[in-house]
Symmetry: C2
Subunit: 384 residues, 2 copies
C-alpha cells in the first residue's frame, strides 16, 4: 500500500483519520498513567493500565493492583459489560494468554467481542511473548503493536530486564557532590542532596522489591531504609556483610516489626552473629564466599530470586556498588548530584577496571531531571 492521499478523501474522513491517529497515543498515554498507579504493588507482575473505547467515548478504565487481583484488561471488560462489543482496547502491555493466578485475558477479550486491541509492547514473560497477540489475531481481532513502545518499556524496565536476564533487576542509586564524592573523608553523607531529591529516593524505594546496603553504610549511616514522606510499601531491607560486625542498636535490626530485614552473609559469620545477638524476626541468607574478602554475588542473586525478590535497589556504599559493577550486574543507574564541591572524600565509584576513555561505561535511555537545586541522571549501562 502506498501513501494515503489525504487530498482525495472527503473532509470528514481526513479529520476522522487524523483524530484516530492522535487518539491512539492519547489512550495509550492514559493507559500508561493508569498503570503507574500500581507502582510498588504489582511485583512480580508488571504495571498495566487499560482503557476501553467505543466511538471515541471511554467505556471504562482500570489498572492492575497486584498479584491475585484482576488484570487491567479484565477490569475494564467487567466494568463495560455488554457494551464492550465492537470497542477498542488500549493497553500498555500485550494481554496474557496463560493461566496464572487469574485466567488468560485473551479469552476475555475474544468473548467480549472487542474489535481491536492497541498495545505498546510484547510481554517478555516466556509463557506470553507474542502468543497473546497471535491468539487475538487468530480470533479475528485487529491488533496494533508498538504505540509508545519506549515509554512502555521504561515504565516496566525492571520487569523487562528481569525476564531477559532471569535474575533480579539491579538498580544502583547514589547521591553525590558535583565532584563525585558520596561522603566526606570521615564518612559524613547525611545529607548531601536536597529535600526534593530525598522524596525522589523514597519513591524509588517504594518501586522495588528490596533495598540493599553494605555493612559499612549500615553502621555509618544507620539508615531505616523505609518509605517515608510519600505513600508506598516498604521494600525488603538487605544488609550484605561478610564479617557481620554490626552494633546491636542498628535501626535495621531494632525496627523490624514488618519482618523485612534480611541479613546476607556466610554461614560462619551468621553463626557467630546469632550466638552473640538475639535480633528478632531477622531473615538470614547463608551464601558462599567469593575469594578472601567478598561474598558471592551470583549466589546472593539466586537466593533473592527464589525469595521472589525480582528487583533490588542498591543504596550504597561504594564497596557494594563496585562488587556489582565489576560483575557488570548494574541494570540501571540513578545518580543524584547536589550543586556542591567537596574536593576530597569518598568517591562515588571505585575502580572497576576501566583504563582508557574508550572503555568508559556509557548508557542508553538517558535522562536528566532537576529536583530542587539537584539534578538526577538516569541511564541503563551499555555493558560491553
Amino acid at each position: 500500500m502506498g501513501r494515503i492521499r489525504l487530498s482525495s478523501m472527503p473532509r470528514y474522513k481526513v479529520w476522522g483519520f487524523f483524530m484516530a491517529d492522535i487518539a491512539k497515543f492519547k489512550y495509550i498515554e492514559m493507559a500508561l498513567k493508569l498503570a503507574e498507579k500500581g507502582r510498588g504493588m504489582t511485583s512480580p507482575n508488571p504495571m498495566v493500565g487499560a482503557v476501553l473505547v467505543k466511538n471515541n467515548r471511554i467505556l471504562a478504565t482500570g489498572y492492575h493492583r497486584g498479584p491475585g487481583t484482576l488484570h487491567a484488561e479484565a477490569i475494564v471488560i467487567k466494568k463495560a459489560g455488554e457494551k464492550a462489543k465492537n470497542s477498542t482496547l488500549y493497553v500498555n502491555l500485550e494481554p496474557c494468554c496463560h493461566y496464572g493466578r487469574t485466567g488468560p485475558c485473551t479469552d476475555l477479550i475474544i468473548e467480549s467481542k472487542i474489535k481491536k486491541v492497541v498495545t505498546s509492547i510484547k510481554d517478555p514473560f516466556e509463557k506470553v511473548n507474542g502468543r497473546g497477540i497471535s491468539k487475538l489475531r487468530k480470533a479475528g481481532i485487529e491488533v496494533e503493536l508498538g504505540v509508545n513502545k519506549k515509554e512502555a518499556w521504561l515504565l516496566n524496565d525492571s520487569y523487562f530486564i528481569y525476564n531477559e536476564n532471569k535474575r533480579p533487576f539491579i538498580i544502583l542509586k547514589l547521591s553525590q557532590s558535583i565532584d563525585g564524592r558520596i561522603a566526606t573523608a570521615d564518612g559524613e553523607s547525611k545529607y548531601i542532596s536536597s529535600k526534593e531529591s530525598l522524596n525522589f529516593v523514597h519513591r524509588l524505594r517504594a518501586s522495588y522489591d528490596a533495598v540493599a546496603i553494605g555493612s559499612r553504610t549500615a553502621v555509618s549511616d544507620n539508615p531505616s531504609l523505609t518509605v517515608r514522606n510519600i505513600k508506598g510499601k516498604n521494600p525488603y531491607r538487605i544488609i550484605l556483610s561478610r564479617n557481620l560486625v554490626l552494633p546491636n542498636n542498628l535501626i535495621l535490626l531494632k525496627n523490624n516489626k514488618d519482618m523485612k530485614t534480611i541479613i546476607v552473609s556466610n554461614s560462619r559469620s551468621i553463626k557467630r552473629f546469632t550466638s552473640k545477638n538475639n535480633p528478632r524476626n531477622i531473615i538470614f541468607w547463608n551464601i558462599k564466599n567469593n575469594g578472601k574478602y567478598h561474598l558471592d554475588i551470583s549466589d546472593f542473586l539466586n537466593k533473592a530470586n527464589s525469595f521472589n525478590i525480582h528487583s533490588i535497589l542498591i543504596e550504597g556504599g561504594a564497596d557494594l556498588a563496585s562488587s556489582f559493577l565489576k560483575d557488570k550486574l548494574i541494570d540501571k543507574l540513578v545518580v543524584i548530584t547536589a550543586p556542591k564541591i567537596l574536593g576530597q572524600g569518598i568517591s562515588s565509584f571505585k575502580d572497576f577496571g576501566i583504563k582508557k576513555l574508550s572503555e568508559a561505561l556509557e548508557f542508553r535511555h538517558m535522562s536528566l531531571e532537576k529536583y530542587g537545586d539537584d539534578w538526577i541522571f538516569t541511564g541503563y549501562p551499555k555493558w560491553k
Copy 2:
C-alpha cells in the same frame, strides 16, 4: 501613592498602562541581546546594547563593539538624529558620565532631549557607579533602574566582579565524567565531553581575555587553546609553571604568530628556559614563588591586571585549579559532565580544605543546561 485602581481608568489607559509595562521588558531584553553581539570584543569595557523608542516604535538599535568605538547609547542617538527628542532609551547598563576614550553618554542623552531612560543596573565602574543616573535625573530626565537586573548582571558577570575585586575575574572550566574524573589514571582526557560541549568551550574561550593552564596539562594535552568551530577572537594563552620543563614541540610555543602566548614562571626557571630554548615572540612574566612548590598567584594576578587582562579562564589541570580554589579565587565555575563513568582516574578537584558537609562549597546564580548528551553546570561560588 497607593495602588493604581485600574477599574477607575478609561479602558484605553488600562491597556496602555499594561503595554508600557510589558514593553519595557521587551526592549530591555532586546538591548541585552544586542549587547551579547559584542561578546569577546568589548573588554575591558562591558557589553552594552541600546534601543531608542518613541510612541512604541523603534527609532534605532545599537551595541558597543569595543574600546575606542562608540558606546551603544551614542550609536542610537546618532542614528535617530532629531527624532530622538522625547523618546525613551532602553539600555542594559547605566550610561556613563565620565570622559574615557569617548565622551560621557549622559551629555549626549541630555542634549538629544531624550525624555526617559530605562536601564537594568548601575555601572560598578568607580567613575560612574550611580553618578550617570544622578546626572540624568538632575537634568529632568525620568530614569527607571532595575529592569532585568539579574540578566544584566549575568551578561557582564566578569565586568561586575572585576570592578568589585579590582583583580582579574577567574572562571574555572572543567570537563568530567559523572563520577568526577577529568582524565583516566594515565592522563587521557581527549575528549571526555561531546562535540556540542566542545563548541561551548570555544565560545567560552572567545569570551575572556586569557586562557590559563598548568604545565602538566600543556604537556599531556598539548592544546592550542585557540578559538575554533565558532567565530571569535583568540584569548591570550597562559602557561603557569614553576619548573618550566616544557618540550620544544608544544603547539603553544610553535603556533604563536599572534604573539599571545604568555609563560609565567620565576626568574630562575625563565632564565634556564630561555638559555636552552629560543621560542619566538613568547611573552614571559617573571613572578614570585610561594613556598617550595608553587608560584605566587596574587603576584600573577597583579601582572595580568597591569597587562589589561581582566578575565582569565582556567582550563586545567587539577593542580592549577586547586591553587586558585585554596585561595578562594574562583569567581565562576563551569563543569561540563559527560554521561560516562570511569571508576578511577584523575579527580576533577583536589582537597582544598573541606572536612565537613556543612563546609561544602556552594553556589549562587546556578544554572544547568544540556549540550547534546552532556550537561553543563554554571555557578558562582559562595566563599565563606
